[in-house]
C-alpha cells in the first residue's frame, strides 16, 4: 500500500503557545486513521493544517504524493466535516451538498447526478428540499459528510464528527462512518478526544499530547503496549499505583508507577495469599459485568469482575495482580518488567 498522506517537520505556534510540533506522520491509502488527544493537544490544529485552513510555520504536507503545503483548501483533494457541521443555514440540503461543485466547471446534470448518488449513499433521499434546521443531528451530520465527499476527495477529514450527537446515535453513526469509508475506499482522518471511539474506528491511532505525538500504531498495539504513562492512562481502563504503596511483587525496584488494566486484577475474600488488602467502596453493575472499586492504601482501584463471588460493599478483600500483565513506568516512560530483559543477562 502506498502512502496517501504525509506530514514532515510540521511546527505551528499561536503567539507563544506551541500548538503542534511533529517530525513525521504518515497514513496509508484506504486507512481509517484516528488522531486522539485531550483538548489543547494539537489534534484540531493538525487537521486544520491538513485541510489548508491553517498554514504551518514550517514543514510540509503531502497528499497523494503532491506537496500541497501552499495550496488553498479547495485545490487539495480533501473533504472536511466540521465539528458543528457548518452547513449553510439558508440553503437546502441539495444546495449544501452541491456547493463545492458549483465552483468548478461542471454541468448541472452532472451535479444533479452526483448529489443524488450521495443522497443515496447517505440515506437522505427525499430530504433534499429541506433546510438544515429541519433535520436531526444525525441527518445534518450525513449532509455534512456528503458535502465533504462530493468532489471525490482523496482524503476525508473529520473534526470530532460525533461529539455533537446523542450517545445512541453516536454508536450507530460510528459503524456507519467506517462502513462508508470502506465502501468508498477512501482515506479518512478522524480527530477525537474519545478513546473508545478511537479504538472502535481506527485502523491506525495517533495519540497526541501537548503538541507532540506520544504514540502511533494499531489499536491493539497501543492498548497492549502503551509506551508512556500518558498513553496508558489516556486510553483508560487502567489503575495506576505509586511504587511506594506496593509490597514486593518480585519485580524490579526502579519504577515509580505501576499500571494494571482493570481486567488483570482479581479481588477475593481470601486475604491469605496477598499482602495487598483493600476495602470495597462501590460496586457498579453494568448488566454483563461488575466494576468494583476498592480502596487500597489511600488510592482507589477499579476492577472488572464477571461475578462478585461473595464480595459486597464494605467487604475487606485481598487484591491479586497478574504480575505478567503489569506495566512499569519511570519518568513517564514505560520500562520492561525485569531489568535483565533490557540489560541482557550478565550471569
Amino acid at each position: 500500500m502506498s502512502s496517501q498522506f504525509e506530514m514532515h517537520n510540521i511546527r505551528k505556534s499561536f503567539g507563544k503557545f506551541l500548538a503542534l510540533s511533529l517530525e513525521s506522520l504518515q497514513f496509508d491509502q484506504k486507512t481509517y486513521a484516528v488522531v486522539l488527544g485531550p483538548s489543547g493537544s494539537g489534534k484540531t490544529t493538525l487537521l486544520r493544517i491538513a485541510a489548508g485552513l491553517e498554514t504551518p510555520d514550517h514543514g510540509s504536507v503531502i497528499i497523494s504524493g503532491q506537496d500541497v503545503t501552499s495550496l488553498p483548501s479547495w485545490k487539495r483533494r480533501v473533504g472536511l466535516v466540521f465539528q458543528n457541521y457548518a452547513l449553510y443555514p439558508h440553503l437546502t440540503v441539495y444546495e449544501n451538498i452541491a456547493m463545492p461543485l458549483t465552483v468548478g466547471r461542471y454541468t448541472n446534470e452532472y451535479i444533479g447526478e452526483r448529489v443524488h448518488e450521495l443522497l443515496g449513499v447517505m440515506e437522505l433521499e427525499g430530504q433534499e428540499k429541506k433546510y438544515p434546521k429541519q433535520l436531526s443531528g444525525g441527518q445534518q451530520q450525513r449532509v455534512a459528510l456528503a458535502r465533504a465527499l462530493i468532489k471525490k476527495p482523496d482524503i476525508l477529514l473529520m473534526d470530532e464528527p460525533l461529539s455533537n450527537l446523542d450517545a445512541r446515535v453516536r454508536i450507530d453513526l460510528r459503524d456507519y462512518l467506517k462502513e462508508t469509508q470502506r465502501k468508498l475506499g477512501i482515506t479518512a482522518i478522524h480527530v477525537t478526544h474519545d478513546q473508545e471511539e478511537a479504538m472502535a474506528l481506527g485502523d491506525q491511532i495517533v495519540i497526541l499530547n501537548k503538541a507532540h505525538i506520544v504514540q502511533s500504531g494499531t489499536p491493539t498495539e497501543i492498548y497492549s503496549k502503551p509506551q508512556t504513562l500518558f498513553a496508558a492512562s489516556f486510553l483508560g481502563g487502567i489503575n495506576l499505583i505509586s511504587s511506594e504503596l506496593l509490597p514486593d511483587l518480585g519485580l524490579r525496584k526502579d519504577f515509580d508507577a505501576l499500571g494494571i488494566r482493570i481486567q488483570d486484577i482479581t479481588l477475593s475474600i481470601d486475604k491469605e495469599s496477598t499482602e495487598m488488602i483493600g476495602k470495597v467502596v462501590n460496586i457498579q453493575y453494568l448488566g454483563y459485568q461488575y466494576i468494583v472499586t476498592t480502596e487500597f492504601a489511600g488510592t482507589r482501584l477499579r476492577v472488572r469482575m464477571d461475578s462478585l463471588n461473595g464480595i459486597s460493599e464494605e467487604t475487606e478483600v485481598g487484591i491479586y495482580l497478574d504480575t505478567t500483565k503489569v506495566m512499569l513506568f519511570r519518568d513517564g516512560n514505560r520500562i520492561p518488567i525485569e531489568e535483565e530483559e533490557r540489560l541482557g543477562n550478565p550471569a
Partner: protein, 568 residues
C-alpha cells in the same frame, strides 16, 4: 391572579408606557383633531375639511411631494448600494481603527453636518469653487447627497455587524468549498445577513423620508427654498409662518406623515421582530469567484474616506481662518495664519447656547435612563407586554419628530414650561427613548440569565435583582447607550426650534430661555451679520460629544447596533 414577579415587571415598564401615551400617542390624536379646525373670515374657529382641501393647494406642493418621494427612495437605495461594498471592505481589511473613522458622520448633530456641506458646496467661497461654480442647492439632489453622507455610516454599521456575526465555521466551510470574493458575498454572506440588510433598508427609508435638518440649514441661505423642501420641513414652515390657517394645514401634513410612517413602521416592526427565515439559491454562478486584491479594496476604502471626511476637513480648516480668508475669492484652502478668534468668539457668544445644550442633553439622558432602562430590562427578561411593547417602541422610533411639534407646544404652554430647560428635558425623550430602549433591549437579551436566577434564589424581588444586580453589571451597555442618548439630544433641532425662543439668560437662580447650540449653528447661517469663523468653530466644538461616544464605544459598537433577528 398575577404573580408578584409579573406585577413587579409590569411596574418597571409603567413609567415608559405612561410617558409614551402622553407624549407620543396623545399628540398623534391631537394632530388629527387639529386637521378639522380652521378659521373663518371673521376669525372664529370652524370645523370642517377645509384644511384638507387647502393643504393640497399650497404653492409648490407638487415639488414638495416629489422631493419627499425622492428622499424616501433615493437615499435608502444609494445607502444600501454603497454600504454593502464598504462593509465588505471593512471586514476584509479588518483594521479596528477604520470603523470609528467611517462612522463619524452618522453620529454628529445633523445640523453640524448640514453646515459643513453648505460651507463646502458654496460655489464662491467653498470647496465647490474648485470643482464647478454652480449652486447645487437649487436641486433636491444636494439634500440627497447630504442625507447619504449622514446615513451611509449607519447603514454600513448595521451591515458590517451582520457580516461580523457570520460564524467563522461558515466562512471556513465556504473556503473548503472554494467560494471566494463576489460569489461568496452573494451566495453566502448576503443571504445570511438578510435580516440586517432589511433592517438597514427600512431604517434608511425612515431616515430619508422625513429629512429636516439639512433643508432647514440650506434653505436659509438658498435662493429657491422650494426646490429642496419636503413635507416635513413644509409642515414646520406652515406652522411657524401661517398662523391658525397654517397650523391646520400643518396638522394635515403631519397626519399624512403619521399614516405613511405607520405603514413603514409596521414593516420595520415585522422585520425587526420576526424570526429570520433564510433562503438562497445557487443562482450566482456568473459572479467572479476570486478574492479582491487587498490593494484594490484599500483604494475603494480611500475613496469612501475622501467622501466621508472631506466636509470635516473643510470645516476644520475654515475654523482656523481669518474672516478675510474665509470669504476670499478664490477660496483659500490652507489658512496662511492660524487664528483662534473663531473659537474664542464662539465660546463667548455661544456660551448660553452651549450651557443649555449640555444641561438639556444631560437631563434627557438621565430621564431616559430612569424611565427606559427598567422598561428595557423588563420587556427583555420578563417579556412584559409581549412583543406589543417593543413594537410600540419601534413604531414611535419610526415616526418623524416634526409631527410631535404642535401638540408639544400646547402641552408645555399648559404647564408654563415653554422656552425652559425643563420643557425640553421632558419632551426630548419622545425621540431619544425609543432607540435607547431598543438598544438596551438587545443588550439585555444577550445578558446571562443565570444572574437573575441567582438573585431570585437569594430571595431578591424583580426590583431587587434589577437595581442591585443587573444595573451594576450592565455598566458598559448602559454607558454607551446613554452617551448615544446624549448625542441625539445634543443634535436635536426641531424641538428646540419649536419649544424655545430665547437663549439662556445666564441667570442660574432664575433660569429662562433654552435655545440650544443647534439653533446657534443652524439658525444663524442665513443671517447677514453672521460670522463664518465663529460658526465653524462652534460647529467643530459641537462634534466633541460624538467623537467621545465613538471613542468609548469603538470596541463594542458593532454589537450594540446589531439589529434584526434578535428575537424569536
Amino acid at each position: 391572579m398575577r404573580s408578584p414577579t409579573k406585577r413587579q415587571a409590569t411596574i418597571l415598564v409603567l413609567p415608559a408606557l405612561i410617558y409614551l401615551i402622553i407624549f407620543a400617542i396623545y399628540p398623534m390624536i391631537q394632530n388629527f383633531i387639529l386637521t378639522f379646525q380652521s378659521q373663518s373670515v371673521t376669525g372664529s374657529i370652524v370645523w370642517g375639511l377645509n384644511n384638507y382641501i387647502n393643504a393640497f393647494k399650497i404653492f409648490g406642493i407638487s415639488q414638495v411631494f416629489y422631493n419627499t418621494f425622492l428622499y424616501t427612495l433615493a437615499v435608502p437605495l444609494i445607502d444600501i448600494l454603497l454600504a454593502i461594498p464598504l462593509a465588505t471592505f471593512l471586514k476584509k481589511l479588518n483594521k479596528p481603527y477604520l470603523l470609528p473613522i467611517v462612522l463619524l458622520s452618522s453620529f454628529i448633530p445633523l445640523v453640524t453636518g448640514a453646515v459643513m456641506w453648505v460651507f463646502m458646496l458654496n460655489p464662491i467661497t467653498g470647496f465647490m469653487y474648485f470643482i464647478a461654480k454652480v449652486d447645487l442647492f437649487t436641486s433636491p439632489w444636494s439634500i440627497v447627497i447630504i442625507d447619504v453622507w449622514t446615513s451611509l455610516p449607519l447603514a454600513t454599521l448595521i451591515i458590517y455587524s451582520g457580516l461580523k456575526a457570520i460564524p467563522p465555521h461558515i466562512d471556513e466551510a465556504s473556503q473548503m468549498d472554494g467560494l471566494a470574493g463576489m460569489r461568496k458575498l452573494f451566495q453566502i454572506d448576503l443571504p445570511y445577513i438578510k435580516a440586517s440588510l432589511l433592517s438597514a433598508t427600512v431604517l434608511m427609508v425612515i431616515y430619508g423620508s422625513f429629512t429636516f435638518d439639512p433643508i432647514y440649514v440650506a434653505s436659509s441661505s438658498s435662493t429657491s427654498p422650494f426646490a429642496i423642501m419636503d413635507i416635513s420641513y413644509l409642515s414646520y414652515n406652515l406652522y411657524e409662518t401661517g398662523g391658525l390657517v397654517g397650523r391646520g394645514q400643518a396638522a394635515v401634513l403631519m397626519t399624512l406623515m403619521t399614516v405613511v410612517s405607520t405603514v413603514i413602521a409596521l414593516l420595520f416592526v415585522r422585520l425587526s421582530l420576526r424570526e429570520t427565515t433564510r433562503s438562497g439559491r445557487l443562482r450566482f454562478k456568473f459572479m467572479p469567484n476570486r478574492e479582491m486584491p487587498t490593494k484594490i479594496a484599500w483604494f475603494f476604502v480611500l475613496l469612501y474616506l475622501v467622501f466621508l471626511l472631506l466636509p470635516f476637513s473643510w470645516l476644520l480648516l475654515e475654523s482656523f481662518k481669518t474672516t478675510a480668508e474665509i470669504i476670499a475669492i478664490p477660496p483659500v484652502i490652507f489658512p496662511s495664519i492660524v487664528t483662534f478668534a473663531g473659537y474664542f468668539m464662539s465660546v463667548t457668544v455661544g456660551q448660553p447656547y452651549f450651557i443649555s445644550s449640555i444641561i438639556v442633553s444631560l437631563g434627557t439622558s438621565l430621564l431616559v435612563f430612569f424611565i427606559g432602562a427598567p422598561a428595557a430590562y423588563s420587556i427583555s427578561r420578563h417579556k412584559t407586554g409581549g412583543l406589543k411593547f417593543i413594537a410600540l417602541i419601534l413604531f414611535v422610533y419610526s415616526l418623524p419628530t416634526v409631527i410631535f411639534m404642535i401638540p408639544m407646544i400646547e402641552i408645555l404652554k399648559s404647564v408654563s414650561l415653554l422656552n425652559s430647560w425643563w420643557g425640553l428635558i421632558i419632551t426630548y425623550p419622545v425621540f431619544v427613548m425609543p432607540i435607547t430602549i431598543w438598544m438596551l433591549f438587545n443588550f439585555y437579551s444577550t445578558f446571562p440569565k443565570h444572574l437573575d436566577e441567582a438573585a431570585n434564589i437569594d430571595g431578591m424581588s424583580v426590583f431587587g435583582s434589577f437595581y442591585r444586580v443587573i444595573l451594576r453589571l450592565s455598566g458598559d451597555g448602559i454607558s454607551v447607550t446613554l452617551l448615544y442618548a446624549f448625542i441625539i439630544a445634543w443634535g436635536a433641532l426641531i424641538f428646540p426650534l419649536a419649544l424655545s425662543y430665547t437663549p439662556f439668560n445666564m441667570n442660574f437662580l432664575l433660569p429662562g430661555g433654552a435655545q440650544t447650540i443647534t439653533i446657534f449653528i443652524g439658525g444663524t447661517i442665513g443671517h447677514e451679520a453672521f460670522n463664518y469663523g465663529e460658526l465653524s468653530a462652534a460647529s467643530v466644538i459641537s462634534l466633541i460629544p460624538s467623537i467621545l461616544l465613538i471613542y468609548f464605544a469603538r470596541k463594542r459598537i458593532d454589537k450594540l447596533w446589531r439589529v434584526g433577528g434578535t428575537v424569536g
